[in-house]
Symmetry: C2
């Protein structure tokens, strides 16, 4: 077995993923935890990294390439932003070295859209984009959907990001489920999938009438009062309303001829696939975990050729 | 001075307002407190009422007419709903007497819209509507806006409610301000009025592009990161985005020839007036407190002629 050559880390707000990589790009080891920026701000970024390297019996002095919120102002070291429009390859050139560490640790910058009307930022998704698009979508127009706490929709042209929009879908779903009057309506919900008719009809209704979104949310409650809507259907309707609203917004401001690419994993990816199907939107899907790892590998190959 | 003839109570989820009335409709005394349904569910509805009557030195056996959440399933006594389309006068006929009390205490029913697609309910606003419209707007078509935690927009034709929609505007503003990532952006905000350009532009932007609402919310955060948006402007933008989205929804489903009537009081009324002005929407305003009291007086006159 080859020796480990470097470490690739996707360090989000609430998630931490690490891969131990060989020079040729093979995965030698992998770690996942909830020690995202929020945790590491308290416990220390160096200690979190060291503990995971130790758990893999990896040398502490391997080079490390990091993307995500570790590069935010409140992260480990601020890595700034590359302004759009930007070639994705330019992100690799902007890596910042963490000072005072024996190992060569680099944090990749994010992307910033500095328009007065639609300011926006991303950290981590730019690396995912690079990994997702470099192989098969290096030319042409794409509209890339990266769902999550703060879903990103990115317009890409020949590997250049021309603009992007963040939608607070996942966070709003979570906050409304927990802290609004709808919490009573959804608290006993069971797990559901995108196959549920209540989800699909809410996606379509919200996409077609986005101006009614905060009314549709109230019908989750009134539907339970008047029609005995089940908790699971209620939660699916809340989810579908938020996702349909997001897709309506993303579609309204994007080129209609762009190819829609969904970068997602797991249950959330399945929900978006069902939403696209309900709206008859053609798309291709790329696995989010694979994409960010491939992006980090591309960064490592550029930084340590 | 005339003797007190009856007691009128507007008993909301989190608010309690009581007026001591003479037979001819003069106000003999008034009480306001935060002992809404949420509090009274714990401390007991009879005790809350008795304490306020005692504070006004009013006889404990006066007749009492109540509107609002005291008539909900989890309230004092369930008063049911009158189904729309409904003449507002029919609400008065549906009052339910509270059993086991020496005094004659009546709770007015709410309104229910039982359609499968747009189920909706109100409690208290129907009484406000009756009081607001009976004198000057008993004929013609009105679109009535009652802003609040759950804003109601009601289509009325010749004092008949033909349909209505609830928007979760106030609650979502509150939940997002307190529990989402935007809480950091708005926590040091000062009080603002509808004159603030950040509020007015957010109203217009959200009204014109409702599908971008959850993206516009994120720009509250990214605007602070990239452009130094102040906390006060951030909070005004959050408020304007939610209110603009509501008005877009309400307008899209209403008759365009209906007269817009705003039933509101205080700072919230001022914000909606500014929002209507920013959108060039003609309206008349009726004070919300006066309206509900006049509705309760009409109910008392119908119940105890």
């Amino acid at each position: 077995m080859a020796d480990a050559a470097y470490v690739a880390v996707d360090w989000g707000t609430t998630s931490f993923r690490l891969w131990l990589m060989s020079k040729s790009g093979d995965i030698m080891g992998e770690r996942r935890s909830g020690e995202g920026m929020t945790t590491a701000m308290r416990t220390g970024f160096p200690d979190v990294l060291a503990s995971h390297l130790s758990a893999l019996s990896a040398p502490a002095d391997l080079p490390v390439v990091i993307c995500g919120m570790a590069g935010a102002r409140q992260g480990w070291v601020e890595a700034g932003y590359v302004d759009v429009p930007a070639d994705l390859a330019d992100v690799l050139k902007g890596a910042v070295r963490v000072p005072g560490e024996a190992a060569d640790i680099r944090i990749l910058p994010g992307l910033a859209q500095r328009s007065q009307d639609t300011p926006d930022v991303m950290r981590g998704e730019e690396t995912q984009l690079l990994g997702a698009l470099s192989a098969d979508y290096s030319t042409g127009e794409q509209l890339v959907c990266m769902p999550g706490t703060h879903s990103k929709w990115v317009s890409v042209s020949n590997l250049k990001v021309t603009g992007f929009s963040t939608f607070m879908t996942g966070e709003l779903f979570d906050v409304i489920s927990k802290h609004s009057i709808l919490s009573h309506a959804v608290e006993s919900a069971e797990a559901f999938t995108g196959d549920l008719p209540a989800f699909q009809s809410a996606v379509a209704e919200s996409y077609n009438n986005p101006q009614m979104a905060t009314n549709r949310l109230f019908t989750v409650r009134s539907g339970q009062l008047l029609h005995g809507l089940s908790a699971t259907d209620a939660k699916a309707k809340l989810s579908g309303t938020m996702i349909g609203l997001e897709i309506a917004g993303a579609h309204s401001s994007a080129r209609k001829d762009a190819k829609v690419i969904l970068i997602a994993s797991g249950a959330l990816g399945e929900l978006y696939k069902a939403a696209f199907a309900a709206l008859s939107i053609d798309y291709v899907i790329i696995d989010a975990d694979d994409a960010v790892r491939r992006g980090l590998v591309a960064a490592a190959n550029a930084i340590w050729p």
